[in-house]
Symmetry: C2
Subunit: 497 residues, 2 copies
Amino acid sequence: MSSENLNYFFNPRTIAVIGASRESDKPGHVIFSILLDNKKKGLLKANVYPVNPKAKEILGVKAYPSVKEIEDDVELAIIVVPARIVPKVIKECGEKGVKASIIISAGFSEVGNKELEEEVLKTAKAFNIRIIGPNCIGILSPWSGVDTIFLPVYKRLNDGKLLISTPRPKPGHIALLSQSGAFGTAAIDYMVGEGIGLSIFVSYGNKADVDEADLLEYLIEHERTRVILMYLESIERGRKFIEVARKTSVIKPIIALKAGRTTGGSRAAASHTAALAGLDEVYDAAFRRAGIIRTYDIEELFDVAKALVMLPPTSGGRIGIITDGGGAGVMATDMAELLGLEVPELRGSTREELERLKSNGIIPPFSSVANPIDLTGSATSEMYIETLDVLLRSNEVDIILVLALHQVPGIRDPIDLARKIGKKVKEYNFAKPVLAVDTGYSEAAVLERETFDREGIPSYPIPERAVRAARALYAYGRYLTKRKKFDDYMKKWNPLD
Amino acid sequence: MSSENLNYFFNPRTIAVIGASRESDKPGHVIFSILLDNKKKGLLKANVYPVNPKAKEILGVKAYPSVKEIEDDVELAIIVVPARIVPKVIKECGEKGVKASIIISAGFSEVGNKELEEEVLKTAKAFNIRIIGPNCIGILSPWSGVDTIFLPVYKRLNDGKLLISTPRPKPGHIALLSQSGAFGTAAIDYMVGEGIGLSIFVSYGNKADVDEADLLEYLIEHERTRVILMYLESIERGRKFIEVARKTSVIKPIIALKAGRTTGGSRAAASHTAALAGLDEVYDAAFRRAGIIRTYDIEELFDVAKALVMLPPTSGGRIGIITDGGGAGVMATDMAELLGLEVPELRGSTREELERLKSNGIIPPFSSVANPIDLTGSATSEMYIETLDVLLRSNEVDIILVLALHQVPGIRDPIDLARKIGKKVKEYNFAKPVLAVDTGYSEAAVLERETFDREGIPSYPIPERAVRAARALYAYGRYLTKRKKFDDYMKKWNPLD
């Protein structure tokens, strides 16, 4: 097994949906209709053919009784037929020359049918077909339009109303690999809400053939992907996995969420995937060795991903904090120190420059400039820019956290402030990672944060979440330094466009 | 000092705004105009009078040169004049017979002007006037319409557009006391976004007179308030505070967020409030003694508050988890065990009943019923109700966590599911606390959670946050048991209407 031929999954020239159905709530229908839709929108380049021996046509497209009857070459087969038929279908795929197959169907090793799964795998190997699944949700590739998530975007409620239920994220630069389909779809919903873009999502289910290690190997070269997220419950080929992850993690950060940390959690995971979750300490050690950044819930997973996809890492852990709310500054400082970042009391030339801003009346005379720099409720947008400029040039801090609570009267236009901060950071060509916070969910807060994100400054709704993300930038920077790859990484780094 | 006369702040019959201004961006204008608006809407019962020696009328209302000239009795004076004039103004208030005064003005002990603050206090005491502030944001009382938050609801951007900037929460049953005004306004914005109702907000600034202890004492009897939140940076009268908190905490839960936990954080807090934050361990001990539940960020503060305001506490820590996503179940189990809750493997009659549901085909044959109860991606709304019914009757669990990821096809109508779960819990008259999770921010997720909340089931967007809230119900239940007040509390407990 390796990453050989994996590209057929993500960028196929032709797709057959075997088990495409005419009944609108069947997975085989949902998948075919979404692919057809993506094709019509011009998003999907591949030709799509439905295979169903009982149908003449599906959604106006001619249906084939077997994949072998399709008059075109078929590169990717998506299989949505009952488990017992899968061996026969895979054999036909082999005879047709199919290169890759996503087996959505369940009813294999996860319910004890190991022989059936082995039979399918043996046939696939004989014909050199790569398999994702079985028992999986498959792939979502927003860049190429491949989408096998059999959950429709909308749900029709009992009263007839349509509700957005499983929206798809916008194209982006974060890849998500998930052992659990349910976690994957929940995570996708979360990404849409947070406005985070996706490069590739793969739910690989029983991983009969393609597993985490293969996918990591593929993603090293995947141009759209800058950061790789993994949801894991168990890892089998541990040595291989660590080896590939170690190779990948100096090129692209890998962030993992590993469930089953406690005795109860492991029991739950075991009953869920029929795989031994294993001792949590073992995973901790493996992650460390592989250079994988570990997170502990879905919120932290994406908070950290957002920082790593947008910002350069840092080899120093000194954080400078600018705020217009004393309390927010205190909370950020607490969290930073608890997580092993330093909030140095500013001295030397940085302090002198800040004191000069004070005596020149550029920032309020009662500001605190020790760090956190508290501009107080009298803060204005101009004060933020002047102070930020000092910190961007300072050799006393490595990371900058801007807490810009929009409520203070002096921030007349919070959107404009976010834009100006973005401009300032670009002026310095992202010399230091800068993260931002505005608290709450009012229109002003949401728009200020959206503007920060658009400007390349990852933003968060509470200080603590921003600090956790900042810590990851430092952890990754230290890791690259230890591996002597920091300079290589930075040479290739550029801001998202 | 005590809670004497505090009701004049929250339910005054007449209000004078001293320093009411005609310039629309001045705090004295914003406060007066909001009060006038609330009066017009019928929300505020009090008469409102502007005091400004340089104006004949403000917003069409006759202005008075001094509070003494007002032809009506004045109960509450809101003071928004420069610090140096405040002593004179307070004296006039005394002569007028004013009962309570909110001094918004800054420039007192927080910038070293201790004498000025003492002068004001002395005069106030001589006339028996209670003071909130100085250097504060004051009060927001959504039930009575008193609102001294001098930040307007809208901000006008540079391009002329109006943006909601400081919205006010709906009336509710959570009180918020904040030493920091900035934290308070950020928290209020957060509450609006999370749809959490407010009973009373007080930002008490320098607490020259009214302090935390007085406010707690007042809130014991405050009918609308069921849960009390506090944001603290320092406490002075520690013994008095603990004594009052200890009295309060067996009647209403108190949840605190104390900033300044670390060396850096304490330094930041000290520079912010000019008060010594003190050793964190001392606060920990004080909170324990006072029965205060401690939280560590704004998210946790409100997550816990939401559970405690809606649900009864529990004296047992065994949690039963129902899920349609294996991964979510594993993560909830992990978090529960890490926080000291038990996720017992179900046995005995509960297990038998669940096995019967399985063999009768009511839940899928491949469900896991050990706990978490994993209904799998084949879950339907009916399965949730049947399983929940078993757990509500079970003597093996004390708390129930329902993870109802809406994406699965069998949950045809997530809103209907939330309603049915609410109905079932009410059938059992909230015999056990039930919390719910749906992940993500799609329309379906948001509406499912809103419906849960409306039905009296607090809901959360990730399992971990729900588990933290569940743990607080247990912590509070244990505390009440230790104080021998559990039964008293439960006797008075009733669901929110």
